[in-house]
């Protein structure tokens, strides 16, 4: 049994097919939610945003040209919504988030207990990256986006995608080093 492609679903959505919208939502909403929640760091906001993201998909389906994968298009919409929401946030909330992002993992007593568990430590450091670095790491590793697709979602040149990914990984290595994990790179 062959599943209906995302492109066909978008064609049906453009014609007002509510069921096609449900299928597309069921297929992508969890990943889109996780992408947004990693950017805005708030589940309630992320939930509100994915409703808006898919409402935009419903409205704009007729203009989708198929130049990229549907999932890439949806993530680009999600990113735009997430960044707009972040811009609307009061400064004090953003300051708190920035402080959280640059927090020294070694200052966390809980972290010392977890030193034996490298996996947990890597995940902690992944959450401590800046929004730009979290975003690119998630797009490449979790959302399985190619260099070209990341460039399209983030709106930067392909070479910048590679450079940003390199610096995101370098920052992760620095956070790990500060937490006592020396990986011998970079």
């Amino acid at each position: 049994m062959q599943a209906t492609s995302d492109e066909v679903l978008i064609g049906r959505i453009a014609n007002g097919d509510r069921l096609a919208m449900q299928v597309l939502y069921a297929r992508h909403h969890v990943r889109v939610f996780r992408f947004v929640v990693r950017l805005v760091r708030d589940e309630g906001t992320a939930e509100d945003l994915i409703s808006e993201v898919f409402l935009d998909v419903w409205r704009q389906a007729g203009r989708f040209e198929g130049r990229s994968a549907v999932s890439t298009w949806v993530l680009a919409i999600a990113r735009f919504k997430a960044l707009s929401a972040l811009r609307r946030r009061p400064d004090e909330e953003l300051d708190e988030e920035t402080a959280g992002a640059i927090e020294d993992p070694t200052d966390d007593p809980e972290m010392s207990l977890e030193k034996k568990n490298k996996s947990v430590l890597i995940r902690k450091c992944l959450t401590g990256l800046s929004a730009d670095h979290r975003e690119i790491i998630d797009l490449v590793y979790y959302h399985e986006k190619s260099v070209e697709e990341v460039a399209e979602i983030v709106g930067i040149p392909e070479n910048t995608v590679k450079t940003r990914m390199f610096y995101a990984r370098k920052k992760l290595a620095e956070l790990l080093k500060a937490a006592g994990i020396e990986r011998g790179w970079p």
């Binding site: 062959q2 066909v8 064609g11 939502y25 909403h29 589940e43 890597i122 995940r123 992760l172």
Partner: protein, 230 residues
Amino acid sequence: MNMINKEPERHEIEALLPWHAAGTLNRRDADRVEQALAGDRELARRYDLVREELAETIHLNETLGAPSARAMEKLFAAIDAEEARSPRRKRSLDLGTRISEFLGGFAPRTLAWSAAAAAVAILLQAAVITAVVVKDHGNAGYTVASAQNDKAFAAIRFTPQATASEISNFLGAYKATVVEGPMKGIGGSHYRIRLSDTKLSSEEVGRIIRDMQAESKIVAFIAEASPPSQ
């Protein structure tokens, strides 16, 4: 141990490691990375670090949970409200979508049950490629002749069971572009594709064509070809 001697090349390969680990490189780049990893122990060690990061990123994201049913209810309430205010007029589907939907309704095995059905599939596939793939790369045929002569081309025939999306993905993976076709030939319709936007050596062209030929589920025939006549 054959380490990569050229530092810029090594740096370039290293930059691709995250995408190689995620399986999102095209065949050509994936081969380059594989060859480099086989001969460079330090690069292979760094690749292990990338794989570790990949595993933990997936783990982290998978623990993030999912939105509640409230998000979907809110979405469809908004859709219903919009439709009540101004119901959208159904647009007629374009030819490519209609044919894609039609073909998508059949499993390849069903289509292959008779020679007549197969002939219909080939005819429709040609229509899809012409309507969708060639249209998507519409500007490709208008480059000047001198520029075209610097580029590499191939004649290709797709298998009857290859779907439009498989063909589109295949061309995307190799960064190839359909510039002409379908053209009647022995065994079915051929297309002329451009293999690269830059000049390639004959060895590189040969390697790409061999790689493409190996994709037997999609490619029935491929050979190097001259640039299209202007």
